[in-house]
Amino acid sequence: MDENLRREIILDNYQDPMNRGLIEDSSYVRERMNSESCIDDLDFMMKIEDGKIQDIRFDGEACAISTSATSIMIRKLMGLTVEEARKILENYQNMIYEKEYDSELLGELNVYDTIHKQPNRMNCALLPSVAVKKMLEKLK
């Protein structure tokens, strides 16, 4: 991927992230994420209806990588079925961990395909995927 384009996507999503700000609504599941390696501290909330992800929102303080990854992840997952979402999360995490994955599925999430070169940032990029997985578990 072109480095300028990569940077632009990350920066746009960092500076103006999708769905930042939580709301009062008890039909959402919630998850608080503190990263081990990082000082990120983000709260997530997600609503599923009829087997589909209707909404994911987040708020808190985090670095450019986690914030942008969260924003891009939210854009990607909204409206998908739980099954489709799981597949994306799986492939996304495989990409971060340098395992086999299908880049076709990931769209803009591909901007993190070289994050493994900065091992201390991998957890930042993983953060939204871990959060969504945890929330899906809670809904089971």
Binding site: R6, R7, I10, L11, Y14, C38, I39, D40, D41, E61, A62, C63, A64, I65, T67, R121
Partner: protein, 397 residues
């Protein structure tokens, strides 16, 4: 000063993370290496030459510590670090001597290791934790401490120097007050002992904790000093070899005298020897000189920072080598990653002072913490890096 003693201080590398841990001078590593290569042996009970040597060096460090902070060498307990020391105070001494309703004065600038053990103890026995309000500079003054004291106050526990704000608390005055009012005075010296002259006796301290690795020494070793009468009453948290006089099948046992009563098992021998070497090294430089160097570095840095209106410094006043700051619109961690590109090592975060966010309007900062081997050139390098701050995202993404 003394940069040549530190192998890690290569040209172009700026180490500004001394609050987390300091670099090690060659003499410290060499002393540990000699132990490993020339006289490895356990302490106590050894009759061969290497063991005799090890024993003498190991025990000798208590004397070195006692000269360094002015205390009784027999009241110097080796621990694994300040955290361990503080836990020993809370669970070894306080658990036995405090009761429900007794008040302990803390403040929100303290490190986790001087808060969480207390929270646990309040859960166990119902003591009451009170937080002394910080002033508008997030500092903790004698006056505000005094105001919080009631007839239920049994302990004042604080860091002599805090690790985010770096304010130097007037321990001599607080100690005198505590002595007069029969309040126990527990001092976390993790950020003061490495940087300034600390006097256990003359500051009327009851307990003093610090870590070796923050003062040119190795990781894995620290010290707890306690007043003799208190140590006599303190319970060991760990039982085993080296600390018992005898034990029998009928469950009778007797523990050894202090301080070895608190040092069950094989201690970090190489680390204790390294710590002794580190303290000797610091004393040879002189704690006054170290402190002066740090204060003048901070002054220089603050002066240079005046040119940048998008940098907020949270602790202008304190006389220590700590400067906590943020770059406007940039998350602390992104800022520290940016600085790493310029070979400048700093720390971003809440620095384990998680309650401080209640007092400050920020949760995370970038902390520059300096030591005597830092230079004005280090600061210039930092300032030069700052001139590239508009390119931060090109650099870190």
């Amino acid at each position: 000063m003394n940069r040549e003693d530190f192998p890690m201080l290569q040209e172009g590398f700026v180490f500004f993370d001394n609050g987390a841990t300091t670099l090690k001078p060659k003499c410290v590593v060499d002393a540990m290496k000699r132990y490993y290569e020339e006289h490895t042996s356990n302490i106590h009970r050894g009759d061969y030459d290497a063991a005799v040597k090890t024993n003498a060096l190991y025990d000798g460090v208590r004397k070195i510590v006692s000269q360094f902070v002015n205390c009784d060498p027999n009241c110097v307990i080796y621990t694994s670090g300040a955290t361990h020391s503080l836990n020993m105070v809370v669970f070894g001494y306080m658990r036995k001597h405090l009761k429900k309703g007794d008040e302990v004065l803390l403040n929100k600038a303290e490190h986790a290791s001087n808060i969480l053990p207390w929270i646990k103890l309040q859960e166990e026995i119902g003591i009451v934790l009170k937080y002394v309000p910080l002033d508008e500079n997030y500092e903790c003054s004698f006056e505000s401490i005094e105001k919080c004291v009631t007839d239920k106050t049994k302990v004042i526990s604080l860091a002599q120097v805090t690790n985010v704000i770096g304010d130097v608390r007037d321990v001599t005055r607080i100690g005198k007050f505590c002595r007069e009012h029969h309040i126990l005075f527990n001092v976390d010296g993790a950020q003061s002992v490495p940087h300034m002259k600390v006097d256990f006796e003359n500051s009327d301290m009851d307990f003093l904790s610090f870590s070796g690795h923050k003062m040119c020494g190795p990781t894995g070793v620290g010290v707890l000093i306690g007043r003799r009468e208190l140590l006599e009453e303190m319970e060991p948290l760990c039982y085993g070899g080296g600390m018992n006089a005898f034990f029998e099948e009928d469950n009778s046992y007797e523990l050894k005298e202090i301080p070895v009563r608190f040092e069950a098992g094989t201690p970090p021998i190489a680390e204790v020897i390294g710590l002794g070497e580190a303290i000797t090294y610091l004393m040879n430089i002189g704690m006054e000189r170290i402190h002066e160097q740090e204060v003048s570095l901070k002054k220089y840095l603050l002066e240079k920072l005046k040119e940048f209106d998008d940098i907020t410094v949270y602790n202008q006043n304190p006389n220590s080598g700590i400067v906590s700051l943020n770059l406007e619109g940039v998350f602390a961690q992104d800022f520290s990653i940016f600085l790493n590109h310029f070979h400048i090592a700093v720390r971003a975060g809440n620095h384990c002072a998680k309650l401080l966010k209640d007092e400050m309007d920020v949760k995370n900062t970038v902390r520059i913490s300096m030591y005597f081997y830092n230079t004005f050139e280090d600061i210039d390098q930092f300032i030069d890096a700052l001139r590239h701050r508009s390119e931060i995202f090109q650099i870190i993404l």
